[in-house]
């Protein structure tokens, strides 16, 4: 596949294009991390994160690519790994006996939210994912999902978000009450 074909496929939401990229540049991209004191697993995580960033950029419709896809992903990998190395150095610089604060309440809440997302319908799941994760405009979401217009998409999105909110709140409240 050529770069233009990959971009076109990803902008349509075709995940197979991401699979293609992942296989094609796996060794090239993970080598960046491995050759810079990273492990194989860290390299894999960084590369997957970089691909997801690339996916989001393409899906949002705001990406103006002036280089090859491989060059762009390479730069994302490099930046992500630098951030990770910075984070590691910060952690190693902190006092080791300082207890790590764990927001158990928020962690528990996230688990409940994930459970509620699973319970949402396919349309609501797509609308919320397109809007919050992919950063798509309401007009693009309307077009992608075959809604009549942007307002319809906005209304749908409001209702789906409200439904998830209520769903999570109901479950969270119930567990809260049980404590």
């Amino acid at each position: 596949m050529k770069d233009g074909e990959i971009l076109a496929a990803i902008s349509k939401g075709e995940e197979s294009a991401l699979d293609y990229l992942y296989k094609k540049y796996y060794r090239m991209m993970t080598k960046i991390v491995i050759s810079n004191s990273g492990s194989e697993q860290e390299a894999k995580d960084i590369y997957q994160d970089a691909l997801i960033v690339f996916w989001q950029k393409v899906m949002s419709g705001n990406l103006v690519l002036t280089s090859k896809i491989s060059t762009y992903i390479y730069s994302i990998c490099l930046n992500l790994w630098r951030k990770e190395l910075d984070r590691k150095s910060r952690i190693s610089g902190e006092e080791k006996d300082t207890p790590v604060y764990m927001d158990f309440e928020r962690e528990e809440r996230k688990k409940i939210i994930n459970q509620c997302i699973n319970e949402l319908g396919d349309t609501c799941n797509k609308i919320l994912t397109y809007f919050y994760f992919d950063g798509m405009s309401m007009s693009d979401i309307a077009e992608r999902l075959g809604f009549a217009n942007t307002d319809t998409a906005k209304t749908k999105k409001y209702k789906c978000k409200k439904r998830l909110d209520n769903l999570v709140r109901s479950k969270y409240s119930a567990s809260d009450f049980l404590d």
Binding site: E15, L18, D19, Y22, K23, Y26, R27, E40, Q48, L51, I52, W55, R106, R109, K110, I113, N114, I117, L128, T129, F131, Y132, F133, D134, Y158, K161, K162, L164, D165, V168, R169
Partner: protein, 308 residues
């Protein structure tokens, strides 16, 4: 409408980036001052963050299920590829080297063979002559054999000349010591030198069949045997019959030459001695003195043959 729903309607526009600058500032002030609003804001943030994380987890699960060759396999694959590439490079290097070597050889040969552009236009005869210089090791021996087999011939070439130089210093019999063939009769001999050359066409292909020429003439031209006798009775005589020439006398130990002329009419012998030509008849069975040729016209015709 419950207060939480009001919070939802307040918070969602902010999180969705739908508020203007001033509305944004106003909301942030409320957020700092209202703990309930702040708590609800964090809740909304977690919901949106979870939606994102959910999708990331989906994509990562998909990517993790894509089979990637193990590093070792990749290394071995790379090594195999390197081996193949190396082999290809080696083959191409050998091929290139061979090609360049061949080119050099060709160029060298071309340089030798084409020192002058004019040589490209040389005729086949010129090429033959050129090769003869390199290929024919001992042409005089070939000439000697050929000339002894030479007889009058029915060729377009009317005249062939055989020349013998001898002295009477030998005791009884004097064989020809040096035989020179004139250029016209020599030419076919040159072709014989190509018999072993695979790169050249055969004699038949060239239309030059010297062997056939010789074989044909061997049947017609008998060999002339020359002998010299000193009997004390005859000082400057001869006999000539049955293709045998007997010379009598010591010739004062001065070399003489036998000149043989062949044409369609037959063969004629002359003896050249001390600047003069002597007639030798073909059927002279009796010993007879050598008679000097007085005909100046004939003398003038024979002289160039001797000089050559």
């Amino acid at each position: 409408m419950s207060p939480k729903i009001n919070f939802f309607d307040q918070i969602s526009p902010f999180l969705d980036g739908q508020l203007s600058g001033t509305e944004k500032v106003e909301f942030e002030k409320q957020l700092q001052n209202d703990p309930l609003l702040k708590g609800e804001f964090q809740f909304q943030q977690d919901v949106i963050s979870s939606v994102k994380d959910y999708r990331i987890a989906q994509l990562k699960t998909r990517l993790n299920n894509i089979p990637i060759p193990a590093p070792n396999t990749m290394v071995s694959t790379n090594l195999a590829a390197l081996k193949i590439a190396g082999s290809l490079l080696l083959i191409s290097a050998i091929g290139t080297g061979g090609y360049l070597y061949y080119q050099n050889q060709v160029n060298t040969q071309s340089t030798v063979g084409t020192t002058s552009p004019n040589q490209i236009e040389l005729s086949e005869e010129d090429l033959i002559g050129h090769t003869m210089i390199e290929e024919l090791p001992t042409p005089p021996q070939i000439y000697a054999e050929d000339i002894e087999n030479t007889e009058p011939q029915e060729q377009d070439e009317p005249l062939t000349v055989k020349r013998e130089i001898s002295t009477s210093s030998s005791t009884k019999t004097s064989q020809p010591q040096n035989i020179v063939r004139e250029p016209r009769s020599v030419q076919p001999t040159i072709i014989e030198g190509f018999q072993d050359e695979e790169s050249f066409p055969s004699e038949d292909e060239l239309g030059l069949s010297f062997k056939t020429f010789d074989e044909k003439n061997n049947k017609e031209i008998a060999q002339v045997e020359v002998s010299n006798t000193i009997d004390g009775k005859h000082s400057f005589h001869y006999q000539h019959y049955n293709n045998k020439l007997f010379l009598y006398g010591d010739f004062n130990n001065i070399p003489y030459e036998i000149l043989e002329l062949n044409n369609a009419k037959g063969r004629k012998l002359y003896l050249f001695y001390q600047g003069e030509f002597y007639d030798i008849k073909s059927d002279q069975e009796e010993i007879a003195p050598l008679v000097e040729i007085k005909d100046r016209k004939l003398f003038n015709q024979l002289s160039p043959l001797i000089e050559n």
